[in-house]
């Protein structure tokens, strides 16, 4: 017995999103969001074939999915992150948002858009990941959020790069 956390994955059918969805499906209730409706439906069918215990909902609204979610994962291209962050700002207060990125250039923008969320920026290079820390006021101080990231990514098969990256 235990409460199953709901995780919204924005960009569920991207390469990275796909890996996360499949590795998290057994432990979390997933709310999948993507602009590609066809790929989303294929992904859901694949998950249901893997196990009948999976709880997967498809959503075409970022805001609605994130409103239901306990944790939000952004697995979208850098140039989409800001607009998505704006769309879910109202329902993301105090929630852990894991921004999976291949570039740290948008860190400041997201932190500014989501000042009351527990934003954790994760840089993924291949199969390894690092947590991006910003020195100063915007550093994610929520230990629970960081631990959530460790748990989710480690069980997804990613390897934690112990050398954290500090941004000036």
């Amino acid at each position: 017995m235990g409460y199953k956390s709901s995780v919204a994955i924005i960009g569920a059918t991207t390469t990275l999103g796909n890996v996360l969805v499949k590795s998290m499906a057994s432990d979390y209730r997933l709310l999948l969001v993507d602009i590609n409706e066809r790929k989303l439906k294929i992904l859901r069918a694949e998950l249901q074939n893997l196990s009948s215990n999976t709880e997967v909902e498809l959503s075409y609204s970022c805001k609605d999915a994130c409103w239901e979610a306990d944790v939000i994962i952004l697995a979208v291209a850098c140039d989409e992150q800001a607009s998505i962050a704006l769309s879910l700002k109202e329902v993301a207060t105090c929630k852990t948002i894991i921004n999976i990125t291949t570039s740290e250039t948008r860190f400041y923008e997201l932190q500014h858009i989501l000042p009351y969320s527990n934003l954790v920026n994760v840089l993924v290079l291949g199969k390894t990941y690092s947590i991006l820390h910003q020195l100063g006021n915007n550093e994610c101080k929520n230990k629970e959020a960081i631990e959530t990231v460790y748990h989710m990514l480690n069980t997804s098969g990613f390897i934690y790069n112990t050398k954290n990256i500090d941004l000036e």
């Binding site: 017995m1 235990g2 409460y3 409103w67 239901e68 306990d70 105090c94 929630k95």
Partner: protein
């Protein structure tokens, strides 16, 4: 999203717009679907939940699998396992949604922080807890001294619209009677009216 909440708060304390903006930053907006759990017995109750929209219940399941209703919470009501929330020990209750719901959740740390940053909210919660104690005393008295019919009549007169939203078996459980007894009571009341 905070409409019902601030109407409720306004009944007890008056907040400035700036204070309202600060208060909002301490809450997690959360949607629950019908039958979805907010809390399961044995887990740690991490949040106080305010119901903006929808209907929730808290209940305990005994060794024989019977559900015992503790509380219903609809628009404008708070719901939690208060003992677990304050003591950080395992919850005794389950909380789930009878209807799709929109909630505002507050963690223990944010509860403490909000009291410091918006001191008026301390008065709000003091009044809330006072009313809660009174309500629980009345319910205890009712369960000891009232007949089943009196309990049901009182519940209906205090919450006429709510009765239409809650399944009869849950109302029976809340009153501590069987569904068959409730059905008989309702039939007798109908015949007399």
């Amino acid at each position: 999203m905070f409409e019902v909440f601030f109407i409720h708060v306004n009944e007890k304390v008056s907040l400035t717009d700036r204070e309202k903006d600060t208060v909002k930053t301490f809450f997690i907006p959360k949607k629950l679907r019908k039958k979805q759990y907010l809390l399961q017995e044995g887990d740690l109750c991490k949040y106080l939940a305010f119901v903006e929209n929808g209907l929730l219940r808290s209940y305990n399941v005994d060794d024989k699998g019977y559900e015992h209703m503790i509380q219903f919470a609809w628009e404008g009501w708070w719901i939690s396992d208060t003992y677990s929330f304050l003591s950080k020990e395992a919850a005794s209750y389950n909380i789930d949604a009878i209807e799709d719901a929109e909630l505002l959740l507050m963690s223990h740390d944010h509860f403490e922080e909000m009291m410091i940053k918006v001191p008026k909210m301390e008065r709000y919660f003091r009044i809330l807890f006072q009313n809660n104690i009174i309500s629980k005393e009345r319910r205890l008295l009712s369960s000891i001294t009232y007949s089943a019919e009196e309990k049901y009549t009182k519940l209906v007169s205090n919450n006429p619209q709510l009765i239409q939203r809650i399944p009869q078996n849950l109302i029976a459980s809340y009153l501590g009677i069987t569904p068959e007894t409730l059905s008989r009571i309702r039939k007798n009341l109908l015949l007399r009216s």
